[in-house]
């Protein structure tokens, strides 16, 4: 209950970004971007997915072009969902910190695992 109240309070202190953001749920509700923009983002997400699959299935481009392109497109989709659908763009900064902090740690974990299993063994010191 206290957590519920806390979230609403944090939303109430969210900075107003204006320009098309509805506050449909009253002053305590988080700002929303409106259903038309939500549909547009949905269409963009679907189009980017089609682009990703086409890049892989067409076999036109070399791997050193497709792999970075896939990474960029995936990150773009990720940010679209996080910033607009999860409305972190409009929320109080505390919600962003709660999300981006652990995400940063997760990326460090993945990089750490890569370092341990793929990079360090090639130095010869720990390889069989």
């Amino acid at each position: 209950m206290a957590e519920h109240h806390g979230m609403q309070e944090a939303h109430a202190h969210a900075p107003a970004h204006g320009h098309g953001h509805d506050h449909a749920g009253g002053p305590d509700a988080p700002p929303h971007v409106g259903w038309k923009k939500y549909v547009l983002i949905g269409v963009i997400l679907a189009a980017v997915t089609v682009l990703e699959v086409a890049a892989v299935e067409s076999h036109i481009f070399p791997a050193n072009v497709v792999i970075p392109a896939l990474m960029v497109l995936t990150v773009a989709k990720f940010f679209l969902v996080v910033l607009y659908y999860m409305h972190l763009k409009m929320d109080h900064a505390i919600f962003g910190r709660v999300f981006w902090g652990p995400l940063f740690l997760a990326v460090l974990v993945v990089l750490g695992l890569f370092l341990l299993f793929h990079i360090v063994p090639t130095w010869g010191k720990f390889s069989n």
Binding site: V50, I67, V98
Partner: protein, 172 residues
């Protein structure tokens, strides 16, 4: 959600580290089906759209539209789970299990945990739909749908990463 991020980060990292380490088949290229997974990815992306629409209409007090879009999330979530059930069954029939090789172990643990999260989300949204249907949830209680929606979007972004790293990268 922070702990979930770390949880899936570790599972994805483990899959990536052991990718290509299987000494016996079936190998990823033998079994992964890009067209089928593209459709299931589309279904999950559209369910995220349904979430924001359901929340938008609930906050505006448009109960029927909120009920419709909440039901759409549930239907699309079940659709995604059906695709995953088909995929798992197909893999089992071609000899890929949790024990068959390192690819099977890491793949089933990663995508299985993701599927379990989708299942939890579907059950959560079913409860909210019934509450909305019985009139126990209106604009004043929209935070309940919002929190479930944040969970659902999180499950969606995890799949966005899995789709690229596990499926698409394999065929580059």
């Amino acid at each position: 959600m922070g702990s979930e991020t770390l949880f899936f980060g570790t599972l994805i990292g483990t899959y990536m580290v052991y990718n290509g380490a299987s000494v016996v088949g079936p190998y990823p290229r033998d079994v992964l089906d890009i067209p089928l997974t593209t459709i299931s990815t589309f279904v999950l992306l559209m369910s995220s759209l349904a979430v924001v629409l359901a929340l938008e209409f609930l906050q505006q007090g448009k109960r029927k539209l909120a009920l419709f879009w909440t039901m759409m999330i549930i239907v699309l979530g079940c659709g995604f789970l059906a695709f995953q059930a088909y995929e798992f069954t197909h893999f089992y029939h071609v000899g890929l299990t949790l024990q068959s090789n390192i690819f099977g172990s890491t793949f089933f643990v990663l995508t299985g945990f993701h599927g379990a999260h989708v299942t939890v989300g579907v059950i959560w949204l079913l409860v909210l739909w019934f509450d909305m249907y019985r009139g126990h949830m209106g604009p004043q209680q929209s935070l309940r749908l919002e929190i479930a929606g944040l969970y659902w979007h999180f499950v969606d972004i995890v799949w966005i990463v899995i789709f690229t790293l596990v499926y698409l990268m394999e065929f580059v």
